[in-house]
Amino acid sequence: MLLLIIFVLTSIAYVVGRSRAATLRKNGEQLHSLPRYYGYLTAIYTAVPALLLLAIWSASEPTFLKQSTVKTLPAEVQSLPQGQLDLVLNDIKNIATGGITQTADDPLREASAKHYNDRKNTSQLLKSIVVLVASILGALYGLRKIGIHTRARVFVERAMMTVLIACSCIAIFTTVGIVLSVLFESLRFFNKVPFTEFAFGLHWSPQTSIRADQVGSSGSFGAVPIFAGTLLISAIAMLVAVPFGLMSAIYLAEYASSNVRAWAKPLLEILAGIPTVVYGFFAALTVAPLVRDIFEGVGFEDVASESALAAGLVMGIMIIPFVSSLSDDVITAVPQAMRDGSLGLGATKSETIKRVVIPAALPGIVGAILLAVSRAIGETMIVVMAAGLAANLTINPLEAVTTVTVQIVTLLTGDQAFDSPKTLVAFALGLMLFITTLILNVIALVVVRKYREQYE
């Protein structure tokens, strides 16, 4: 509501500011900018301080309300610890807003709730007044500023630039946030478990004591089997995705008629758009039993129902469109002159593709594959649903392995006690995951960029 009023006021300020400037201009004043900019200027003065006030008020209002309400409560309640006080307040607020409560008949609480409501109403009223006054004052100030000396356009544009720059900083903030959120916890983990054990230990068994007297209650945090498992599944995925993706891209870019291309490309992209949880469901319920039946039919024994193969296959299929669309881009970026040169020498189309187009596009394709690898490593839902939890150190794709992402999910939602190293190791794994993908991504991006420059 208040926001709406501010919006209306801002619009009015804009119109008034503009017309005022227009009048001045008509009267022969040499204004620096177009009237419209004076309108914007006034609008900014109207809205920004008011909104700022509103935000600050709204943010601090609960605290004031709380303190004021707490004062109405009996002393023994007031001296309760913070958490309990919050609960009481929650109850009071529930009463006040007419929500479902259990203590509605408690007169003391009722009184507090009334007090709370009164204060809240007063506060809202005051807030409205203050904000409106601020916005009107702002508007007046803005209107006064209209004149020859004000370079409205510069001001407005500078304000806009500030907003734009602020927005583009969010990406940096996100990265910083990620690093901070995983780094501290990881450091705490490495204080308890030496990094060398984490990085080179061959035994992963993070079940530190479900009960205190449990064996191996110290847990062992050798991350090698997890990373090996991740690599195994990713490798299987890439074995599926690279040939299929690349060949699809080649076919679409070089052979397919434009009609086929127009249909096949969006269809392939659907494959990329299917949520990973759907793939996970499909992998667990359809592909994994199929893989097991097939291999046991052929005479393999001990095919895990959650074989790395099943998860890897499905993940590979998920990544096909990723590889194909990136490769398609780089293949079509190879200049036609290259193809002409080769065809003109009497090469067949496939020879041209194999010997000229692909080598020329290779850096770009490698970049695409690296990005795909990083995606495979970070993929979560498919492996959570279809891969195992057993940290086997194996290269047999028919066995169950576990991955970094699976471990993060199970460690943070698992059944074991949630103390010390175990939660922390999830963050350490997250950090490793972030660093690994970061390195892959940066290499891939540099490679791709270099490649693009080559033909631009």
Partner: protein
């Protein structure tokens, strides 16, 4: 070069042609096979899920004559709303079942008989009575949903030729159901429950409305936060940013963020929004915040591509007539790039809609029955609902899961189709 040599060349080339053409054909076939295989897989996936999920859109109902006398219900005269809520509707249903099959005497058999009707049936009755308390004392003919096993029997998923030990639906139950079917007291209808209710532990009562609303609220937050910020960032980087180290860092950052595993964003959300700012767990607002950080790079990258595709000549033209740089961008470049930006946004949103992993970290894996109405209400989202259902022991949830997947895919395909359409429609060659 003499004639002999030339002849040689021709001969040599001609001799190898057959082999080379075979290779050419093979290569081409590989390509075709690759793309066909990918598309076949897509088809297999969609068909499997449709075949599994389609039955879930139908629900079996059983017609019962239920007497709502106050004694069975255990309510007094003029019961208040709480009494009505707690009344023993199940008892009434059980009574009417026993009335239908008076021969059933043994306790075990009775239990089997009661299993024909869904546990949710009582809530249907409850709703009706609460809406109209005067029904108490009346005898009603009502259609109630059947239990999970009965439903799968009627769907033909239980093979009655198997020995009794090997199926969950026993001989006497089959006999009862067959008799009811003959009496036309069993009907298959469109499963409106699936779209009208929140989660439930009884597969026949479970619906996706709660998670659908959760998804919408979450997406709304995502869209409102990520779209303006992404467009602003793209404009700054593409049109204004000086080429220096700082902007280079931002750029590498964005490209990298686009490829950071989504679960890492979940860890970020857990550490920052929940632990540091103590925002509520399982809330759409937190989900939206995390997802918007995740989709931001996607939208930025496509928005930049769209801005870049606007030819410099247009900027020069506008600058030439004395527009400021900002005016050029907002009056000319941005409108021209808008279809491209929208396409990218839709694709980013589709990605966010299907995302599960980061939400697992911030408490959205929860059993939530009530449909969320505000941004801080506990909520779950469609993909997480799918994940949860996939893990439940009740057989009926397999088809429910597939049905929920169908709904999710329908949304995603529509979104992608719109994106493709937009892209085609506004594709411009400058």
């Amino acid at each position: 070069m003499n004639a002999q040599e030339k002849l040689n060349t021709t001969e040599v080339v001609r001799g190898s042609l057959k082999r080379r053409y075979a290779r050419e054909k093979r290569f081409r076939l590989f390509g075709l096979a690759a793309i066909t295989a990918s598309l076949t897989f897509l088809a297999v996936l969609l068909i499997t899920i449709t075949v599994r999920g389609l039955p879930a859109f139908k629900q079996t109902f059983i017609q019962l004559e239920v007497t709502l006398d106050s004694k069975t219900l255990g309510v007094g005269e003029n019961p208040d709303i709480n009494e009505l809520r707690k009344a023993n509707y199940n008892g009434a249903i059980k009574k009417s079942l026993t009335a239908l099959f008076p021969d059933v005497k043994k306790r075990k058999d009775k239990k089997a008989l009661y299993k024909l009707v869904s546990k949710g049936g009582q809530y249907d009755l409850q709703k009706r009575v609460m809406a109209d308390p005067s029904l108490i004392g009346e005898t009603l003919k009502v259609w109630l949903p059947v239990g999970d096993d009965t439903n799968s029997y009627i769907q033909g998923n239980i093979d009655s030729s198997l020995p009794e030990k090997k199926r969950r639906f026993k001989d006497n139950q089959i006999q009862w159901v067959d008799q009811l079917t003959e009496d036309k007291q069993i009907q298959r209808r469109f499963n409106s429950t699936f779209f009208e209710r929140g989660d439930s532990r009884e597969p026949e009562m479970a619906g996706i409305k709660g998670s659908l609303f959760g998804s919408m609220l979450t997406l709304m937050v995502t869209l409102l936060l990520s779209f303006p910020v992404a467009v602003a960032t793209a404009i700054y980087l593409e049109e204004f940013a000086p080429k220096n180290r700082w902007t280079d860092i931002i750029e590498v950052n964005i490209n990298n963020l686009a490829a950071v595993p989504s679960i890492v964003f979940g860890l970020l959300g857990l550490a920052i929004f929940i632990n540091f700012f103590s925002l509520p767990r399982s809330a759409p607002i937190v989900g939206g915040l995390v997802l918007s950080l995740m989709t931001l790079p996607t939208i930025i990258i496509s928005a930049r591509a769209a801005l870049k595709s606007v030819p410099p000549s247009i900027r020069d033209a506008a600058l030439g007539v004395g527009a400021s740089k900002l005016q050029v961008v907002f009056h000319h470049v941005l409108p021209l790039a808008m279809p491209g930006i929208l396409t990218g946004t839709i694709i980013g949103m589709a990605q966010a809609l299907g995302e599960t992993a980061p939400l697992l970290m911030i408490g959205m894996v929860a059993f939530i029955v009530d449909v969320p109405t505000s941004l801080t209400d506990p909520a779950t989202v469609l993909p997480v609902q799918i994940y949860q259902w996939a893990d439940l022991p009740e057989k009926g949830f397999v088809e429910k899961t597939s049905a929920a997947i169908m709904v999710l895919l329908a949304f995603l395909i529509v979104m992608n189709a719109v994106a493709v359409y937009l892209r085609r429609k506004f594709e411009r060659k400058w």
